[in-house]
């Protein structure tokens, strides 16, 4: 860096009460430079970013040896000085504009606020500027009169950026700006941010996803436990990471990792689950790999919308999962993935179409007829916590699931312990409430529960979307191991192309309620036929170095 | 306590001076300071509106013929007048009537009326009007209870001329003129009576010093001055219309609120004053007190003699001897009420009193109960006989018993327990209370009864009054069925000789008291508090409700 950096931070500490959450953080951001601050949840990266705006929160103790923004010492700044700076010289963009824009106010007024607070412009001039900003972000002038809830995810994220950029701040802090977005919208927003940097603004990009930032950032800082472990030029950090944690993170990124590669270093599960008592007797003999496990034909499901319209959640969906293999189902939110999953699970009836499970009719079927065979089909959800009875401990949850497997078979604490070991958990966790477990542990418990009745087929609905990259890696590895050992068939549903590619043998792409393309995973990636698939692939971020 | 009632216009007749009344009013303990006669010598000024707050339930009909309770009498006294009224000594004197003669057999009365009196609707007051009024009372559709009983012996009416009405009775009635003095038999315009009952209830038309202008339900009745009024009896109060331009007659059922409103000056006069506020007012320069005990019966508890356990006189006496009435009255009423030992109000000249019968004597009570067979006690300490507990049902009407009285009943309940009585107090709204009485589901009851003259004894204790009247009400709650008593009451009511009447009524009262049919408590309390700016307060009707013809508001 030749000139004096725009932002210079040395020895930043942030604490709440007796807990310190950020230790001795030092950062430099040059003019027109983009720094990415990467870390998993609880790493202190968001608090760091907020401390740079003087918004660390009520009761926060913020100290720094140096907190210098463009020659101004901010470590002693009063509220008034901070307010002059915020919005006009430093802008902030948060994740999920649905909650980061006031849902009761129009987007135009949110943008207007920034102008009103920092300029003496008359209302008409501000309105004109607002329109200009929206258009610059690729939105229509008319969108100024709409509220966050009326815009799509990508549109409102861009509106949020417009509000932050209203006064051309020297520094834009973007905290997970694309996390809540689909791949396409994510790509658009990243483009937009890159464009801003090209326009001369400095950017502090905060993310948990190395792949996302690698395309935009000049430099990367890796953060964990409130400390910066290493920082350097993007290329250098990605290709020659110094710190073990960075290496672990890089390894955990599924993008570009072929099927079967291990993403985590941690050993996923018990060596040989077959030795477990609970799985001696399977309700049905394991079918040969490649035989159809779950087959859906021409599923149609429509919903009438409040406005009187009709929504085709599933439009003639046909798919087949083979025993011991994984079918990846990928699509943006609202594409109908979840509705399809619910139909396959027999939780919802299709308007027409049918499903067969291991060659037997499954849907449509009276629930009473389906119930005895439900042991053959398991499910894993995005948010395991909400799928547990909050009043029960892990042991009780698993015992409950075990009891549904086979009537007359006494199943006790031993089986619970076996199950926990199967998914790589300490059997002692049986006495804990799920709420006290970490995200990864919870998902393991959820997997154990799905396995309890001894199914041959499992539907995984966004099973890793709520997890940090390193945890995601462990869970994906675990699923892989279990498939190999138990011969499970998976329907793996996700919006994340990289994850799906890593886990699937075959791939189905869903869009607007239809399966627009399907085939062996690598074939689809190599030669996408449908426009939507191509767009999806293009938008998917990959590690710049990969 | 004053021996004589503070009665009205006739007070002026009798004494010639309003002052007399007011001095008497002072007897209640209020310093005589602000009233017209005794304090300032200022001449009355005309104008201003009196704001009166009544604690009684708002009448559902302003025509006291309909039903007939005291709240109606209170307000109706301002716009209706009666044929007769009561003077200072408790004597019955003519008002709208000028006199009456009775035949020797006591069955025919010739009523003479004053001439030249008009109703506020312009119609004239004459014999046909009186006939129409009495016919109205006797019409079952009117649903009169009090007025109906008062004129029940009238069988025929002949209009002799405009000022003469000949009345034929089914049996002699010495109390007829007393009945004519009551507001429930007040005279209304015959023309107005022809309207629908709803209309007549909303704006009855009379000859009084005020007339009904408007009635805002749940809030107030607006009365305005009758500009053409002059007292029918010359010299009763001042000549000419009332000093006040009008009266706002509000209804404030909450005693505390009512008194607070008086203190704040929001209202000028309140009725149903609570004992504690009367006591507080005694020390106040700003507030005066008018004590006007009602005529008729005293406030008493009636003991239902028609069924066990009170069909045994020993048990009745035991109850009366067991309870501690005096301590309760002195603490709850702050000396504003005096213990009564009579069936009649202290303002009734023919009242008979015997304190010896009512002294508290727990030993005697216990002895009597043992004799009567209630000689066992159960675990709770109550007496039993044949395994049955000595339980007394005591329904209390929250409309008819003021809070202090309800508290007194609770104290009686507590002291009766010492002798082994279980008294079950049951607070009821008026409707349910009547219902319980009608089903004979009571052993004790307190029902005030206001009527002018000792004939009230016939109402309360004659066998015939154990049978409900057309309105459903029966008045002999003690259910005394004593032929000897009936005969005495009948002959007393037929006797016009006052000495003989008094003798018969005395005998009758002795039977009632010595038979322990009732436990007298005190006179029917009728206390008013008013701001001292209000002058000339004191005149009352025959039933001791205040009238405001001579009342005026002093300007500060």
């Amino acid at each position: 860096m030749s000139a004096a950096p725009l932002l210079r931070v040395d020895g930043l500490d942030v604490g709440f009460g007796s807990t310190a959450v950020v230790h001795d953080v030092s950062l430099r951001i040059g003019r027109g430079e983009c720094l990415a601050l990467v870390g998993e949840s609880g790493s202190g990266k968001s608090v760091t970013a907020r401390a740079l705006l003087g918004l660390a929160g009520r009761g926060a103790r913020v100290t720094a040896r140096t907190l210098d923004f463009d020659g101004t010492d901010l470590s002693t700044a009063g509220q008034r000085a901070w307010r002059r700076l915020r919005g006009s010289r430093i802008g902030l963009v948060l994740q999920d504009a649905l909650v980061s824009l006031d849902p009761l106010r129009t987007v135009g007024r949110e943008i207007d606020d920034a102008l009103r607070l920092h300029t003496g412009l008359p209302a008409a001039a501000r309105a004109a500027k607002t329109t200009g900003l929206l258009e610059a972000m690729g939105l229509a002038a008319g969108d100024a009169g709409r509220r966050a809830g009326e815009l799509s995810g990508g549109m409102r994220q861009r509106a949020l950026i417009a509000a932050a950029m209203a006064l051309d701040p020297d520094l834009l802090i973007a905290d997970e700006p694309t996390t809540a977005l689909d791949a396409e919208a994510q790509a658009q927003v990243l483009d937009l941010l890159a464009g801003l940097r090209a326009g001369g603004s400095s950017l502090l990009l905060i993310s948990h996803d190395l792949a996302v930032v690698s395309s935009v950032a000049d430099r990367v800082a890796i953060m964990r436990g409130g400390r910066i472990l290493e920082q350097g030029p993007t290329e250098q950090v990605l290709t020659a990471p110094e710190h073990g944690y960075t290496r672990m993170l890089l390894r955990a990124v599924p993008a570009g990792r072929p099927r079967g590669t291990r993403l985590s270093t941690v050993h996923a599960g018990a060596p040989d689950p077959r030795s477990g008592a609970s799985h001696d007797q399977q309700p049905c003999p394991a079918p040969a790999p490649g035989a159809p496990a779950l087959e859906a034909r021409n599923l149609v499901r429509t919903f009438s919308t409040p406005g009187g319209g009709i929504l085709h959640a599933a439009d003639n969906v046909s798919l087949r999962v083979e025993a011991g293999r994984t079918l990846g189902l990928v699509g943006a939110s609202g594409s109908g993935k979840s509705t399809t999953a619910r139909i396959l699970l027999g939780l919802e009836s299709p308007d027409s179409g049918s499903v067969e499970l291991f060659g037997q009719p499954w849907v449509p079927l009276p629930e009473a007829a389906r119930r005895p065979r439900r042991t053959q089909l398991g499910a894993i959800y995005q948010d395991p916590l909400s799928s547990f009875d909050p009043r029960r401990r892990v042991g009780a949850i698993l015992a409950d699931a075990l009891s549904s497997a086979a009537v007359g078979q006494a199943r006790g604490a031993d089986d619970v312990a076996t199950l926990l070991e199967l998914v790589g958990l300490d059997p002692d966790l049986a006495g804990r409430h799920p709420a006290t477990l970490s995200g990864g542990q919870r998902q393991r418990v959820a997997i154990a529960r799905a396995l309890a009745p001894g199914p041959r087929m499992i539907i995984c609905d966004e099973p890793v979307s709520a997890l940090d990259v390193s945890v995601q890696a462990q869970i994906l590895d675990l699923l892989d191991d279990l498939q190999a050992r138990l011969g499970l068939g998976y329907l793996f549903i996700s919006h994340d192309l990289a994850v799906v590619r890593h886990v699937s043998d075959r791939l189905a792409v869903m869009h607007g309620g239809r399966i627009v393309e399907s085939g062996p995973t690598e074939e689809v990636f190599a030669d996408p036929r449908h426009d939507y698939t191509r767009a999806l692939l293009a938008a998917s971020p990959t590690l710049a170095s990969g | 306590m004053p021996a004589a009632p503070r009665s009205a216009r006739p007070a002026a007749l009798a004494a010639g001076l309003l002052a007399t009344t007011l001095v008497l009013a002072g007897c209640a303990g209020s310093p005589g300071g602000g009233t017209a006669g005794s304090g300032t010598a200022a001449a009355p000024v005309s104008g201003g509106t009196l704001v009166y707050a009544s604690g009684d339930a708002e009448p559902t009909c302003l025509d006291p013929h309909v039903g007939g309770n005291y709240p109606q009498a209170l307000v109706a006294g301002q716009y209706l007048e009666t044929l007769y009224t009561k003077d200072d000594d408790g004597a019955i004197v003519p008002w709208l009537a000028s006199g009456a003669e009775v035949s020797d057999d006591g069955l025919t009365w010739t009523l003479k009326l004053r001439d030249g009196i008009t109703f506020t609707d312009g119609s004239a007051f004459d014999a046909a009007t009186v006939k129409a009024n009495i016919a109205h009372l006797q019409d079952p559709d009117t649903a009169s209870s009090t007025g109906y009983l008062a004129v029940e012996k009238i069988k025929t009416m002949d209009v002799v001329d405009d000022t003469t009405l000949e009345i034929g009775l089914s049996s002699p009635d010495a109390a007829l003129l007393e009945s004519f003095s009551m507001p429930w038999v007040a005279m209304e315009s015959a023309k107005a009576l022809k309207r629908s009952q709803a209309e007549n209830c909303a704006s009855p038309v009379g000859t009084g010093p005020f007339k009904v202008a408007a009635w805002t339900k749940q809030d107030s009745v607006e009365l305005v001055r009758n500009g053409d009024y002059t007292p029918p009896v010359p010299g009763a109060g001042h000549d000419g219309p009332a000093y006040l331009e009008g009266i706002t007659w509000k209804f404030i059922p909450e005693a505390a609120t009512r008194y607070a409103a008086l203190q704040a000056g929001t209202v000028d006069m309140i009725d149903n004053a609570q004992p504690d506020t009367i006591k507080a007012a005694e020390g106040s320069e700003a507030i005066g007190h008018l004590d006007a005990p009602r005529p008729g019966a005293s406030n008493r508890i009636e003991l239902n003699s028609s069924k066990a356990p009170f069909n045994d006189q020993r048990v009745r006496e035991a109850f009366v001897r067991a309870v501690n009435v005096d301590d309760g009255i002195s603490s709850l009423f702050f000396g504003t009420a005096k213990r009564s030992y009579s069936a009649l109000s202290s303002v009734e000249p023919m009242g008979y009193s015997d304190p010896a019968l009512f002294g508290r004597d727990l030993d005697a009570a216990n002895r009597l109960l043992d004799e009567a067979g209630w000689d066992q006690r159960d675990a709770a300490g109550y007496r039993t006989k044949d395994g049955k507990r000595l339980t007394l049902a005591f329904p209390v009407s929250t409309n008819q018993s003021v809070p202090a009285e309800q508290s007194l009943f609770q104290q009686l309940q507590a002291t009766a327990k010492e002798a082994g009585f279980e008294v079950k107090l049951n607070l009821l709204d008026l409707s349910s209370w009547y219902g319980v009485l009608g089903e004979n589901q009571y052993d004790l009851v307190s029902a005030p009864y206001t009527k002018v003259g000792p004939d009230v004894l016939r109402t309360l204790f004659h066998t015939s009054n154990t049978i409900p009247a057309p309105s459903g009400y029966f008045s002999n709650h003690a259910q005394v069925k004593d032929p000897k008593l009936d005969a005495l009451l009948e002959s007393a009511s037929a006797t016009t000789d006052q000495a003989e009447r008094k003798d018969k009524y005395t005998q009758a009262q002795q039977i009632v008291l010595e038979g322990y049919y009732i436990l007298p408590l005190y006179d029917q309390q009728n206390h008013f508090l008013y701001r001292r700016q209000l002058q000339g307060v004191g005149a009352t009707t025959a039933v001791a409700s205040p009238t405001f013809h001579d009342t005026w508001l002093a300007r500060d």
Binding site: L55, A164, G307 | P140, A198, D219, S431, S432, G438, Y473
Partner: protein, 348 residues
């Protein structure tokens, strides 16, 4: 708890939780065909009127059935219960008037017919058409309730604002004040106010006397408990808004704390208050019964109390219908207000 239960309310109505984001199958991305606005408005009106008619019909039916289900002679009930000691002739007349000799369904239909034409019958006790009585009594209660409603909102919003701006101490104190206010029974509060402001200090008239001063204590008595309840939900909502990401966005834009409160949080705070309007009306009507008695004000509450003591069934029915109608109207208005404040509510 998913549903936001109004703290401390026995009748805590469905709060904003009613319209929590829906289940899985309809994410917002797909285009929704918007209905034409006038058609939507028409449908809304139709739905509201329909629900109003239904509620009124049901209230009338309930009371009709209740009178006949309660053991005893309905004619007697009409004439004021067993205590009325009604004569045989009166009972016969009442039976004739109300058609009680007819089969039940004929009676029912004819009563509905009368109600449909606006004939609420005649008060047994006051011998006046019920409709006329209600018309007379309504303005007093309206003035009282409207005054109390405004005051309660001002107080609740004030407390919410103070909590929003004043930091944790203010929030704790505000919460304590609200709980205390919400726990105070009207009848006690009214008494204590009279004791202090009329009896002890003589500042205010203890009864309604037609002046504005006479309205002060009744309104305060009626408003304080309501303000306590509203304050609790508004403050919660305010504090949630103050810690929400959009508030952080606003601060990052340079907005001051006061600006965040006024421009953002205040509306969010008002929302649950508006949603509770129907409940608030109920609380006001219930409170009016007590307050009107204590302060000797004319009004529906006092009329109702008197009607109850006199077993005046036609009048009680009339008050119930008026109150139900008011509820329906207030619900419609609060729905409109909610739509105005919160465009997220499309269809409920």
């Amino acid at each position: 708890m998913t549903e936001q239960a109004l703290p401390g309310l026995p009748g805590g109505p469905g709060g904003p939780g009613d319209r929590a984001e829906g289940g899985l199958p309809h994410p917002g991305g797909t285009a929704v065909v918007p209905g034409r606005p006038w058609r939507a408005a028409g449908a809304w009106l139709l739905r509201r009127v329909g629900s109003a008619v239904f509620v009124l019909w049901a209230v009338a039916t309930l009371i009709f059935l209740a009178i006949r289900l309660i053991p005893g002679d309905p004619a007697e009930a009409i004439l004021g219960g067993p205590g009325s000691q009604a004569s045989a002739e009166a009972l016969a007349a009442a039976r004739l008037e109300y058609g009680l000799d007819e089969p039940l369904w004929v009676q029912y239909l004819s009563q509905l017919g009368r109600l449909a034409t606006g004939d609420l019958g005649t008060s047994y006790a006051l011998r006046v058409p019920v409709a006329q009585l209600l018309t007379e009594q309504l303005p007093g209660t309206l003035a009282l309730a409207a005054g109390a409603w405004v005051l309660a909102w001002v107080l609740a919003l004030g407390l919410a604002l103070w909590s929003g701006l004043g930091g944790r101490g203010a929030a704790v104190v505000g919460s304590a004040l609200e709980i205390a206010a919400a726990s105070v029974p009207h009848f006690w509060l009214g008494s204590v106010l009279v004791l202090l402001f009329s009896t002890a200090w003589g500042w205010l008239p203890p009864v309604s006397n037609g002046t504005a001063a006479g309205l002060v204590m009744p309104i305060v008595t009626l408003a304080l408990p309501l303000a306590g309840f509203l304050g609790q939900v508004m403050r919660e909502s305010m504090l949630t808004a103050m810690t929400s990401p959009f508030a952080l966005s606003a601060r990052a834009r340079g907005e001051s704390e006061a600006g965040v409160v006024l421009r953002h949080a205040l509306r969010h705070a008002a929302l649950p208050g508006v949603a509770l309007s129907g409940w608030a009306l109920g609380s006001l009507v219930s409170g009016a019964v007590v307050v009107e008695s204590i302060f000797a004000r004319p009004g529906l509450g006092r009329t109702l109390l008197q009607a109850v003591t006199l077993r005046d069934v036609p009048l009680v029915t009339g008050v119930a219908l008026v109150s139900a109608l008011a509820y329906v109207v207030v619900m419609a208005l609060s729905d409109l207000a909610e739509r105005a404040i919160d465009p997220r509510i499309r269809d409920r």
